[in-house]
């Protein structure tokens, strides 16, 4: 966004917040009862979270600023993300479709947001090869977002005519009805590649095993730790946890987004350092350091 747009955003945000504050403060005539922090403007119990968040935010913003200046940033290879291109290539050779499953959660889950970001990039790649992209969706709220992401992907690739709105399909908001329908799509339409990226629960293995039985190349990714083992055993490539969130930066190679990845890496290094220091201090009986990290 340019400076004018940013100013507009800040101005509208300020007006909106002021209006909300006035409305709510008017409703708060009677003093509420509750914790001793009711009237405080800052919850001091969360000071450690605030400082940690400020450090992580600063690291990310610093790397983004560096990237904007044109400094080159090294990002390690992520096999699962490279495999997406391979999967699309295979689907093209076979003349078959690609099935993209964005998980079963709604847009208020950050994994679904991450999945929609990847979907946009995948759609861009697929549009170049001119093969169908099928996106079955469980949550109605995700339908317009997915449509927009795919439409923009096709537009960016210069193929708006190839965009097929009906391939972004709402299935059912019932978990197993959705799983049954997606399994049906896999068995009937036999996509050459299945991409399962987002938030998954008990249906993960139902989908991944059915996909494996059809012989499709499968790339999965989720931040739901309890479902990762199922994907690892049933899929060809698995994006483990944070790799799902790194996907958009990795696929787009946009310096600003890559900068945010480097910022997360720095934060990770700081956490590892804190763990090592904490372990040593705890072992020799010094407790104050670990108490700094207690969250209330």
């Amino acid at each position: 966004m340019n400076n004018r747009k940013i100013s507009l955003v800040i101005l509208i945000s300020a007006i909106w917040l002021t209006l909300c504050s006035q409305i709510l403060l008017a409703q708060e005539a009677a003093p509420p009862t509750g914790t001793k922090f009711d009237y405080h403007w800052f919850d001091t119990n969360r000071l450690n979270v605030f400082i940690t968040l400020a450090i992580v935010f600063s690291a990310i913003l610093w790397f983004i600023a560096r990237a904007k200046k044109g400094k080159s940033l090294f990002i390690r290879r992520i096999a699962g993300l490279d495999a997406i291109e391979e999967a699309v290539g295979r689907a093209t050779e076979m003349g078959k479709s690609v099935l993209y499953i964005p998980g079963i959660h709604d847009m208020n889950d950050i994994q679904t947001v991450a999945s929609m970001i990847i979907l946009g990039n995948v759609a861009k790649t697929i549009a170049r090869y001119d093969i169908p992209l099928i996106v079955p969706i469980r949550q109605p709220f995700v339908v317009p977002v997915a449509e927009e992401a795919v439409r923009q992907g096709y537009l960016s690739a210069g193929r708006p005519d190839a965009f097929m709105k009906d391939n972004i399909r709402f299935i059912s908001d019932e978990q197993f009805a959705y799983a049954a329908a997606v399994n049906g799509i896999m068995l009937r339409e036999r996509p050459a590649a299945n991409l399962l990226l987002g938030s998954f629960y008990a249906e993960s293995l139902l989908l991944a095993e059915t996909g494996a039985s059809t012989g499709a190349i499968q790339v999965a990714g989720t931040a739901n730790i309890h479902q990762l083992p199922f994907f690892v055993v049933a899929c060809d490539y698995t994006l483990i946890g944070e790799e799902l969130f790194a996907a958009s930066a990795y696929l787009s190679r946009e310096p600003k987004l890559l900068g945010s990845l480097k910022g997360s890496d720095l934060a990770k290094a700081l956490i590892v350092l804190a763990i090592i220091i904490g372990t040593i201090l705890e072992t020799i009986g010094v407790k104050w350091f670990t108490k700094l990290f207690v969250v209330q």
């Binding site: 747009k5 940013i6 955003v9 945000s13 504050s21 709510l24 708060e28 009711d38 405080h40 403007w41 919850d43 969360r46 979270v49 605030f50 990310i60 913003l61 709604d106 950050i110 991450a114 929609m116 970001i117 946009g120 990039n121 969706i137 949550q139 109605p140 709220f141 339908v143 977002v145 439409r151 923009q152 009906d166 972004i168 299935i171 908001d173 019932e174 197993f176 049954a180 293995l205 139902l206 991944a208 095993e209 494996a212 730790i225 990762l228 199922f230 055993v233 049933a234 483990i240 946890g241 944070e242 969130f245 790194a246 958009s248 600003k256 987004l257 945010s260 990845l261 934060a267 990770k268």
Partner: protein
């Protein structure tokens, strides 16, 4: 404006949610409940979008006699029967009460179908395990060994087989050790990575750097 407004909403709401975590003072302490209420209301409207999409795709399939159009007929009939039973033949607001046609369909058709789908998982776990536990390389062999110790340690057979061994070498304790140390350590490492990934993605969204999710580049 079609893209700017959703981005603006994401930025404002994102920052407000960050602020409300640290500020236990009105108006910020109310925002979480407000946000949750709004999500419920908007999702209520969104279901209409979803149902219209489903019906449109299914009707087109039937009209064009596309491949698998018979399944689309079942979807339409199922939709009409369930909606009709709920709206017109189940006593209005009390449609979920026992004895109504809606209740009957739910417990005698939908519920068993749902349970059947879930039950299939058991067979898929077996087939996936068979593929995963083949000792093809060093990592797969480690996985196989860990799985053997865990499965035996969590069953009476494991207790029976290792009853004569010293306490620390009994299968139950070995499986507990695997779960408490290597498994927990690995899981926590992944969780730290996920938390940082979430922070990084959220920051990209609420600063407007990431716009792909609203169709931006």
């Amino acid at each position: 404006m079609r893209r700017e407004i959703p981005i603006l909403i994401a930025i404002v709401v994102g920052f407000v949610y960050v602020i409300q975590f640290f500020v236990p003072h009105a108006p910020f302490d109310k925002f979480q409940n407000w946000g949750n209420d709004w999500i419920q209301i908007i999702a209520g409207f969104a279901i209409i979008l979803g149902v219209l999409n489903l019906l449109k795709v299914s009707l087109e399939k039937v009209y064009k006699k596309s491949k698998g159009w018979g399944y689309a007929v079942i979807i339409i009939i199922g939709f009409l029967i369930m909606t009709g039973a709920g709206l017109f033949f189940s006593g209005g607001k009390n449609y979920q009460n026992p004895g109504t046609p809606f209740y009957y369909i739910f417990f005698n058709i939908y519920f068993p179908l749902n349970a059947t789908m879930f039950a299939i998982l058991a067979f898929f776990v077996a087939s996936a395990s068979y593929r995963a536990f083949r000792a093809r390389n060093k990592e797969a062999t480690l996985l196989l060994l860990a799985a053997i110790f865990l499965m035996l340690g969590r069953t009476p057979l494991g207790d029976y087989l290792s009853a004569g061994l010293p306490t620390g070498w009994q299968l139950k304790n070995i499986s507990d050790w695997i779960m408490d140390f290597p498994q927990t350590a690995g899981q926590r490492a992944i969780m730290i990575g996920i938390a940082l990934g979430i922070i990084s993605t959220s920051l990209r969204v609420i600063t407007g750097l990431e716009r792909t999710f609203v169709g931006g580049e």
